[in-house]
């Protein structure tokens, strides 16, 4: 999928290679930011993304693997764990509405 309306997002997945480090940190942060909203935030290895993930956030270098493993999800790549504008756009779309567009390429 290439895009989704923010208000339709129910499950956000943060994916990294191991699902034990960076994705855990970012997922914790997002869970906190979105805790008053009906959105589930989970962290998973990029090879095991659940099929009902609406949006997948992962490091830009893993985006291709994420797209292959989660064809039904909008995949958004990011470069920084703290304050990445791509992550901020997803949070804003969930909170205030708007379209989340998946990233293409790396």
């Amino acid at each position: 999928m290439s895009s989704i309306e923010g208000e339709r997002i129910r499950k956000l997945v943060v994916a990294c290679d191991a699902g034990m480090g960076s994705s855990v940190m970012l997922a914790g942060q997002l869970r906190r930011e979105l805790r008053k909203l009906p959105v589930t935030v989970e962290h998973h290895p990029v090879a095991a993304i659940p099929p009902d993930a609406d949006v997948v956030l992962c490091q830009a270098g893993l985006a291709e693997r994420a797209r292959a493993g989660a064809p039904g999800s909008v995949v958004v790549g990011f470069r920084m764990f703290l304050g990445d504008p791509a992550v901020a756009r997803v949070v804003a779309a969930v909170k205030q509405g708007g379209v989340v567009v998946g990233t293409t390429g790396n």
Binding site: A18, M20, G21, V24, M25, Q29, R32, A48, Q59, L82
Partner: protein, 149 residues
Amino acid sequence: MMPRCRPVLEPRGVRVREHAADRVAAVHRCADVLEELGAVHPAYREAMLDREWAMSTYVGEGVAIPHGLDRSRALVRRDSLAVLRFPDGVEWDGATVTVCVAIAARGDGHVALLSALARILLDPLRAKGLREATDPAEIVGMLNAEDEP
């Protein structure tokens, strides 16, 4: 006797005066400490180096979080963190790292501590406090701080 539940991060897992010539040496020191704690099988070291090489574990504010790969989970004996402070800094793929939070996890025992770390790093003053802290008990306290409501 009740089995004793070891905390994920203990003061003896915190080393405040480490030195490393480069990123590889720093990851080796992280693996050394996780091994000393009995948290990982010796082969976990290779997975940490592979992961670091594939993609930097730098997360910002002078902090990196070296850890293994999905396939190395079985090499983890219990969810544990170690904190290594490199006062002189270590060159890290273009950044300078002062604090490594080394992760060994097979479950989710470390999730709360990593969330606390994220909150600290989002606040530049608290991030500076973490980089400059020299008392292991204080560092353990910072990372175990409860989430405010």
